[in-house]
């Protein structure tokens, strides 16, 4: 057992317990969202010792030097003095300018900023409510458009953050937005390479950003987008994507439905199966996978076995942590 000190108070951290769990257990209000080391919303700073290496994995060098670390990934090896960072260090305030339905359970949320918000299309940010509740959401637009960020947010029945965004947040409200994070984005290189984009549900959000970015950069290789859900009513932007496919001869769009009712123009089945019946060999392809964690994890292995190299597979699993 080691002792954690925060603001003159001391807290026990048990063997096998993370700093985040230890502090939450003792009613310290720390923000967190994924508990997997992905979202970085639980970042804190050690005021004395160097944090364990595993707790700094994925952080920028500048933050590592200052002894910042992820509380959810830290099994402390010795006593630590911990500074809870002032959240304003990492968050900017934006104003909601659009909140409207894209389909029966998904909204389009657009947040505007006074100055440019720098990000790569497809990265995600953490949104934070004034009580500290934090969740990760992917950006759906490209940075060149305006000083805004676009999100697609699905209502999870009983979900604290998504229901709040759907039911209580309206145009004119302000909301705290973190720095952009994640590695799932397009780099303008090897422009003749095939791009495979596979998403389920709101997994379309980052893919829409990546697609717009690739087209804006004049990507010449084939770009295939597969968007899956159970029912037609849970897909969205179908007409827009079809329109885009008409305008760009290298862009191909396949909406996929895994339910029983599959109208003309839709592929029947799970995206996993449909993708490989269209593109059996993925050698030299660049692959983007976003959405349901199970789909993302299975597809990662499958696309690798079909020939994509590890370095060419980009993925964001929309983990929902159980609290």
């Amino acid at each position: 057992m080691v002792t954690l000190s925060v603001d003159q108070n001391r807290y026990a951290c048990q063997q096998g317990e993370t700093v985040l769990d230890a502090l939450l257990r003792q009613n310290i209000n720390l923000s967190f969202a994924c508990k997997k080391g992905t979202c970085h919303s639980c970042m804190v700073r050690s005021a004395d010792v160097t944090p364990p290496q595993a707790a700094q994995s994925g952080l920028k060098n500048t933050l590592i030097k200052q002894n910042y670390f992820l509380a959810c990934q830290c099994y402390p090896e010795q006593d630590m003095v911990i500074k809870l960072p002032d959240q304003s260090e990492f968050y900017r305030m934006g104003t909601v300018v659009v909140n409207k339905l894209l389909n029966r359970n998904t909204i389009l949320l657009v947040v505007a900023f006074e100055d440019a918000f720098e990000f790569n299309a497809g990265q995600f940010v953490n949104l934070q409510r004034s009580d500290g509740l934090t969740r990760s959401y992917s950006t759906a637009n490209i940075p060149q458009q305006s000083n805004t960020l676009e999100f697609h947010i699905r209502r999870l029945p009983g979900g604290k953050f998504s229901e709040w965004l759907h039911d209580e947040v309206s145009v004119g409200d302000s909301i705290a937005v973190s720095e952009p994070r994640g590695h799932c984005f397009y780099l303008p290189e090897r422009s003749d390479q095939g791009l495979l984009l596979v998403g389920t549900g709101t997994g379309l959000a980052p893919l829409a950003g990546i697609l717009t970015d690739a087209l804006a950069n004049g990507h010449t290789g084939p770009i295939h987008l597969f968007h899956g859900s159970r029912e037609r009513e849970d897909l969205y932007r179908i007409d827009e994507m079809r329109q885009l496919a008409k305008q760009h001869s290298n862009f191909h769009y396949t909406p996929c439905l895994s339910g029983n009712d599959v109208p003309d123009g839709f592929a029947a089945g799970r995206v996993n199966d449909i993708v490989f019946s269209h593109i059996p060999d993925l050698k030299n392809w660049r692959v983007f996978l976003c959405g349901h964690p199970e789909m993302v994890n299975q597809m990662k292995k499958q696309v690798f076995l079909k020939g994509a190299t590890i370095a060419d597979i980009y993925a964001d699993a929309f983990l929902i942590s159980s609290h």
Binding site: N297, K300, K301, F304, L305, I310, A311
Partner: protein, 122 residues
């Protein structure tokens, strides 16, 4: 000071290239793929990197005890000499595919071979 095997083979980029080829071979080999059928591919890849860094005698200080522990659960579900031989086969084939000179392949194989008893819990 003369270059280490790890440096001669090409350091981290060589490890990454080797993992790509090796992991595909392993997942396609019905004799051993059940041992690697873990849902989390990123974790598996991190372990494959550890495997190659070690086989190249690189900066990763595993002890025999660590190798025992890392594979103890696999031994419980039947890991045996045949499986070990299959992995050795894929190691050699991977490095050949990467055009690593044969004397360096032999060095890497000898390092891997030296862990046999620990890996198999003997």
């Amino acid at each position: 000071m003369s270059a280490t095997l790890y440096e001669k083979i090409g350091g981290e980029p060589a490890v990454n290239a080797a993992v790509d080829i090796f992991y595909r071979k392993v997942l396609n080999d019905y004799r051993i793929n059940r041992f690697f059928d873990n849902a989390d591919m990123d974790k598996q890849i991190a372990k494959q990197k550890a495997f190659f860094t070690m086989a190249f005698g690189g900066p990763n200080n595993y002890t025999g005890q660590d190798m025992r522990n890392a594979h103890a659960n696999l031994v419980k579900v039947g890991l045996n000499e045949d499986h070990f031989n299959a992995v050795m086969e894929h190691l050699g084939a991977t490095l050949t595919e990467l055009k690593v000179p044969s004397d360096l392949i032999a060095e890497a194989a000898a390092i891997a071979e030296s862990t046999r008893n620990d890996v198999l819990g003997k």
